[in-house]
């Protein structure tokens, strides 16, 4: 299947006269009030196969990875001066750009196919978008993007520009527009950070760092006394870095516009002995201001009788 044509199965459905919409009734009613007419349910899929963490990189190397591919990377070295096969003398947090790129490619193709269907219907926009991604088997992730295509009453047929899209529908969309924002596109991204633990991280994540405290790295527990809590710097940094990377990657897709209604998801896959993969998804609607900011009056406060 090429990326630029609506599959035959969908064509049959889209060719019929009547519309189908994934909108709830209140959303449907609000849509009509806004002058948006639903023309059909549109969707896109993509099943992606993941590279196995860059092939051999699932095994621990002899030294930290290079930082050639431009992602976030930070290296920690053992303060103890031991040389032992048991003692990991270096640790590294590294952004797995190939995972991020695979995710982006999968999401983008599914999204592009949905827009393709919307274009085929002559729609101006797609509202109430839902997207899911799930792993059906090892290393395969499928992306599904679904929404309701709408035509704007009075707008030119088959507008030259791409249909706009938004996760919002119904009254929430009406309120967004009332607040002075026009939706541009749904945007989503994933970040992935691999933590290779070094001796200190490993000791702390395994809970025996306290007995090593006496060895005396800077910032380490005072005399190894039990009860003085120790933060695990490397892992903490990875958790924050994953979120910041997701935000930065998404910001690159905003082109200076605003991200509305962001949804953050985070997943940690512990691989043992402090090693882990931290992943973070971020999605939302890219919106653009079309009129000046005009705050509403403070709403009435109510109590419901029931």
């Amino acid at each position: 299947m090429t990326g630029s044509s609506v599959p035959e199965a969908a064509e049959r459905r889209l060719a019929t006269e009547s519309f189908s919409s994934g909108l709830t009734v209140p959303d449907f009613a609000a849509c009509l009030q806004m002058g948006l007419r639903p023309v059909g349910l549109v969707q896109g899929f993509c099943a992606m196969q993941w590279g196995w963490y860059g092939g051999a990189q699932s095994l621990r190397g002899l030294s930290p990875l290079g930082v050639g591919d431009g992602g976030y990377s930070r290296v920690w070295y053992c303060p103890h001066g031991f040389v032992s096969a048991e003692h990991p003398t270096w640790g590294q947090n590294a952004e797995q750009t190939w995972v991020e790129d695979a995710w982006a490619a999968g999401f983008d193709s599914a999204f592009a196919r949905m827009l393709e269907e919307a274009r085929a219907l002559g729609a101006n926009g797609v509202i109430g978008v839902k997207d899911t991604s799930r792993s059906t088997q090892a290393n395969v992730t499928e992306f599904h993007v679904l929404g309701t295509a709408v035509k704007l009453e009075g707008a030119a047929q088959g507008a030259a520009s791409d249909p706009w899209s938004t996760y919002l529908a119904g009254q929430r969309l009406a309120k967004l527009i009332e607040a002075g924002f026009a939706p541009v596109s749904v945007v989503a991204t994933l970040s992935s950070v691999r933590v290779w633990s070094y001796c200190m991280t490993r000791a702390l994540m395994e809970g025996y760092g306290y007995s090593m405290g006496a060895i005396g790295a800077s910032g380490w527990a005072g005399g190894g006394s039990l009860g003085a809590a120790q933060e695990v710097d490397q892992v903490t940094e990875a958790r924050i870095a994953a979120r910041q990377i997701a935000k930065e990657r998404l910001r690159q897709r905003l082109g200076g516009d605003i991200l509305h209604g962001a949804l953050v998801g985070s997943f940690v896959r512990e691989l043992g002995e402090g090693d882990q993969v931290v992943e973070c998804t971020l999605r939302g609607t890219r919106v653009r201001r079309f009129k000046d900011f005009d705050p509403i009056e403070a709403p009435v406060v109510t109590v419901r009788l029931s």
């Binding site: 969908a10 459905r13 209140p26 009509l32 349910l41 992606m48 196969q49 009435v300």
Partner: protein, 266 residues
């Protein structure tokens, strides 16, 4: 009641429905929904249901081929259709114009590992102005709309025509070992998978849309896409799409202007 024969309701039903005909109504609507259904000009007649127990058998499938399992698709469709038809018949006995708040459930029982009961239930309603709201097939309309949704849709000038559904049971191929190894270490799209997923969902949606066309509906609202694997294992999936077909009958009724509030309720 034998499968495949929609005629005739079980004997015990008659008595319950007779009582309902004498003016008592039962309904699973909440008080709010009840008031809104009345507001929309309808009166609830009674709680109606239909059920059908089916054997959800197996169909041979090829390990490495993605394909629709048409026998299973038909079985799943017929079971639901039968439950719906029986519910419609109950509504017919009550002289209803339609059924609101229809729920379609599947129950599995311990006494039959391959048996599944498909149930449809809802509240039969009748227009108070005497006008007919039956659909083009002369049957009471069915809809999965809540009382709130029913009132809202009537304000937009659309009238529900029927609960429409389409289903497709699909077997998604397992990948051979050679294929899996061949693609190690690369990020690639799996076009066959993508195609299979498209195909299965599209079939379900197209069938749903065909039902709406038979009802001469203008469109379908509230479409839900559900995936169920029943008891077939992870590679065989039923894709079910459901929604309420609506037809434009009148002009949009303008809703009273709401006001912005902050509710202090939890």
């Amino acid at each position: 009641m034998s499968g495949g024969n929609p005629e005739g309701l079980p004997k015990d039903v008659g008595h319950r429905l007779e009582e309902l005909e004498r003016g008592l109504f039962t309904s699973d609507l909440s008080v709010n929904e009840f008031l809104l259904v009345k507001e929309a000009g309808f009166h609830p007649l009674g709680f109606v249901m239909g059920s059908s127990i089916h054997h959800t058998g197996v169909q041979t499938r090829r390990w490495s081929k993605s394909q629709e399992l048409t026998k299973l698709t038909e079985a799943m469709y017929n079971a639901r259709e039968l439950a719906m038809t029986r519910m419609e018949e109950e509504a017919e006995v009550l002289g209803a114009d339609g059924v609101v708040g229809v729920r379609l459930d599947v129950n599995y029982y311990e006494w039959g590992s391959d048996a599944a009961e498909f149930v449809a239930m809802g509240t039969a309603v009748k227009a108070e102005d005497g006008g007919s709201y039956r659909n083009v097939l002369g049957k009471p309309f069915t809809s999965d709309l809540s009382g709130q949704d029913f009132w809202t849709i009537m304000q937009t000038g659309y009238v529900p025509q029927g609960l429409v559904m389409g289903t497709c049971v699909y077997h998604i191929a397992h990948r051979g070992l050679a294929q899996a190894i061949g693609t190690v270490g690369q990020n690639v799209e799996l076009p066959n998978f993508t195609q299979a997923l498209y195909e299965a969902r599209e079939l379900a949606m197209t069938r749903m849309q065909d039902e709406a066309t038979r009802l001469e509906a203008t469109g379908i609202v509230g479409v839900r896409l559900e995936e169920k694997s029943h008891q077939w294992g992870s590679h065989t999936i039923e894709f079910l799409s459901l929604g309420t077909a609506v037809a434009k009958r009148g002009d949009e009724v303008t809703l009273p202007k709401p006001m912005a509030i902050i509710s202090l309720d939890n």
